[in-house]
């Protein structure tokens, strides 16, 4: 590491920094207790359709499965059966997306990149940081339903959804004529 990068940790926002190192544990020492860890967890809507007893989180990159389990059980008193974590690669974004994000930090840059554009990777200027995802399995007694916060105004995503609907309509029209593609246009 170059010497000028040593201070980089203090420039980063607090939630992105690495956790302070734990003291070395020797046999007979008292238990290490951290009361205010710099860990955080973010409950997100699952990206794939999942069984009802699974929850999905985006967590601090240094959190292990034990940390996630203890975090939920000790702080929120949510019983946990199993935890599985994986590190996802960053999401590509274009210049337009970046500008939108800069002007309005509420813009969901972490949302899915348009599928067709991603295949070609056209206009991609950078990737977002890698992040860790935790899948938590809870017992059947615990039930969580997502609250509808934007019941009245959902202006941000509305346009995108409408575009999507339009696109799907066109696709349906195409699919209808798919079976008779190899026929000349006259027979269709």
């Amino acid at each position: 590491m170059a010497h000028w990068m040593k201070r980089a940790g203090s420039i980063l926002p607090f939630w992105k920094r690495t956790i302070p190192p734990f003291p070395v544990y020797w046999k007979g020492d008292p238990k290490n207790r951290v009361f205010l860890p710099t860990f955080w967890m973010k409950l997100v809507k699952p990206d794939r359709e999942m069984p009802p007893d699974y929850l999905q989180f985006i967590v601090h990159k240094q959190m292990s499965t034990h940390d996630v389990k203890n975090y939920l059980e000790k702080i929120y008193e949510v019983p946990v059966l199993r935890v599985r974590t994986e590190i996802r690669r960053g999401i590509p974004f274009t210049k337009e997306m970046w500008l939108k994000y800069v002007r309005n930090p509420g813009y969901p840059i972490h949302q899915r990149f348009p599928r067709d554009a991603e295949r070609e990777m056209s206009g991609v200027i950078n990737f977002t940081d890698e992040f860790k995802v935790a899948y938590v399995q809870v017992p059947e007694e615990v039930k969580f339903t997502w609250p509808d916060i934007f019941k009245e105004n959902k202006p941000l995503m509305e346009k995108a959804l409408e575009e999507r609907k339009k696109f799907s309509k066109e696709q349906k029209r195409l699919e209808k004529s798919k079976g008779s593609k190899d026929l000349p246009a006259w027979f269709r």
Binding site: D47, R48, M50, P51, L81, R88, Y135, D182, L183
Partner: protein, 505 residues
């Protein structure tokens, strides 16, 4: 529509398919000729009488008498059979793949053909899994209807005599006590003692006691039941199978942080199904010469019961994909004399440490899903060795018995495999496989002061019943899709040629 179908035929599509199978040029040409005969045939003419050939001899052109243009019959839209959501062209592809498979006479070559030489991306499915609540998932991918808390009626009809039971019971009690009578020195002689961990010691004890109990029951029943003599027994053998499962075509893998694949990983584009490859090592495997009797007939309403629809992406329940070659290993190589399943016993000790499981009911679900998975995959692999495959469905149900236990606690399973067509949609093919499962029962509670306490007679009786069921000889052909001159390995009497003179050394 008809015009469309005819176009398809003229395209020489068959030729392309045959070329893919890496056959020699002559064979391909022969096959293409068989498939696509010339469309216009002049009757009463041969190549020798062709005009320019006979031009030097005479100028009388042979007049073709009765010019008849014969077209091949128009193809149906779908090949025979039920195809469900598979589109017509892909159905034809699958149908002709199955047809090609029948041309290959040897089972080994057929398996090579089925297991493509290239690696494919499949779901690696170890049958011992620590995940919680995968029973429904296993039921769906194996298309199994689960009957809990009872065994099939055959077990009720068999009765264990008091005489045999009273003969075996003290022997089993002694086997349990004998474990602690042996003085064991670990490690190689005269090197520092390597103490085993408690886990290793427990595994050793489990496997040893189960083997001893099986030996005791088998030898003591041998006089009454001669079929026990002919069983082949082996320990720690691989059981692996590969299959496709439908029902995942509507699932999109369009996560907001994922690459934009349309389908989940391990998706087969032709059949629109997911690929699975299971792997397992069974502790004790017993195989018989003849198949076990079927537990219920194919027309029974139980065979068309509903199964739980667990249609989530397998990634979400902790499964992972990896590239590998498809493998079918039923616990032996091709050519083994005893080809039919009789009994397998599996110990969870090597794979699962019960103390580390978070939920008290975890062990129950783990044994259930393992019992379903093990019995399904071994029957599937055995069916492939008998000549059946995903293209050629079973003509008679295959059955097996499975025990999951650690020497003290046992759970019994009986399984009947009805179909191999999991890759077609469930609405089209209503046949389901059936698994009967008894709850976990303890053979005894504890061993204290050289005495076994809380011995359960019922468990020992069901254990004995597993050995009392006799394999049945069937009247019909057990290998209908193999050529008629195929010699079954059961009928082979001499495997090693005897010497003329029996001399020493």
């Amino acid at each position: 529509m008809a015009a469309c179908m005819r176009l398809q035929q003229f395209a020489g599509k068959n030729a392309v398919q045959i070329c893919r199978r890496h056959l020699s040029g002559a064979k391909i040409r022969k096959k293409v000729r068989e498939r696509n005969p010339p469309t216009i045939i002049h009757k009463n003419t041969t190549m020798k009488e062709w005009p320019f050939y006979s031009a030097t001899a005479s100028f009388d052109y042979p007049k073709p008498q009765g010019d008849v243009a014969e077209y091949p019959p128009i193809k149906e839209r779908f090949p025979p059979g039920k195809w469900g959501c598979i589109p017509d062209r892909k159905a034809w592809v699958m149908y002709e793949k199955g047809k090609d498979l029948l041309d290959i006479p040897h089972v080994a070559e057929r398996l090579e053909e089925l297991c493509s030489k290239e690696q494919v991306i499949v779901y690696q499915l170890p049958l011992w899994q620590r995940e919680h609540g995968l029973v429904e998932f296993f039921q769906y991918i194996t298309k199994t209807h689960l009957v809990k808390g009872e065994l099939p009626d055959i077990y009720g009809s068999i009765e264990v005599d008091d005489e045999t039971f009273n003969f075996i019971k003290p022997l089993v009690l002694e086997v349990i006590l004998q474990e602690k009578a042996q003085v064991v020195q670990y490690g190689r002689p005269h090197q520092p003692i390597k103490h085993r961990t408690p886990l290793q010691e427990r595994i050793k004890r489990e496997e040893e006691s189960i083997r001893q109990i099986v030996n005791v029951i088998r030898t003591s029943l041998c006089r009454k039941k001669p079929h026990l003599m002919k069983l082949l027994q082996d320990k720690k053998v691989r059981i692996e199978a590969y299959w496709l499962r439908s029902g995942y075509e509507a699932i999109e893998d369009n996560g907001y942080f994922n690459t934009g694949f349309k389908h989940p990983k391990g998706f087969d584009q032709v059949t629109k199904a997911l690929k699975f490859q299971s792997s397992h090592t069974a502790n004790v495997v017993l195989t018989a010469e003849q198949p076990l009797p079927e537990f219920i007939s194919k027309e029974d309403p139980l065979c068309t019961e509903e199964i739980p629809q667990f249609r989530y992406n397998p990634m979400t329940v902790g499964q992972h994909t990896a590239p590998s070659k498809p493998r079918f290993v039923p616990g032996y190589h091709l050519g083994q004399a005893c080809e039919f399943a009789y009994l397998t016993i599996n110990t969870p000790g090597r794979e699962i440490d019960e103390a580390s499981l978070p939920h008290p009911d975890d062990m129950k679900t783990i044994t259930l899903q393992a019992g379903i998975g093990i019995s399904f995959s071994q029957l599937l692999a055995k069916a492939h060795y008998l000549g059946f495959s995903m293209y050629h469905n079973l003509t008679y149900p295959l059955t097996c018995q499975t025990i999951v236990g650690d020497g003290r606690r046992f759970s019994f399973f009986a399984y009947q495999l009805n179909t191999l067509e999991q890759w077609k949609s469930d609405e089209v093919i209503p046949q389901r496989n059936i698994c009967w499962a008894l709850d976990e029962l303890a053979l005894y509670d504890t061993v204290e002061d050289g005495e076994v306490k809380g011995f359960n007679d019922e468990v020992l009786k069901t254990l004995i019943k597993c050995f009392l069921i006799e394999p049945e000889e069937r009247e019909f052909n057990l290998r209908p899709y193999l050529p008629e001159d195929y010699e079954a390995p059961v009928n082979k009497k001499e495997y090693i040629a005897e010497e003329v003179k029996h001399g020493r050394n």
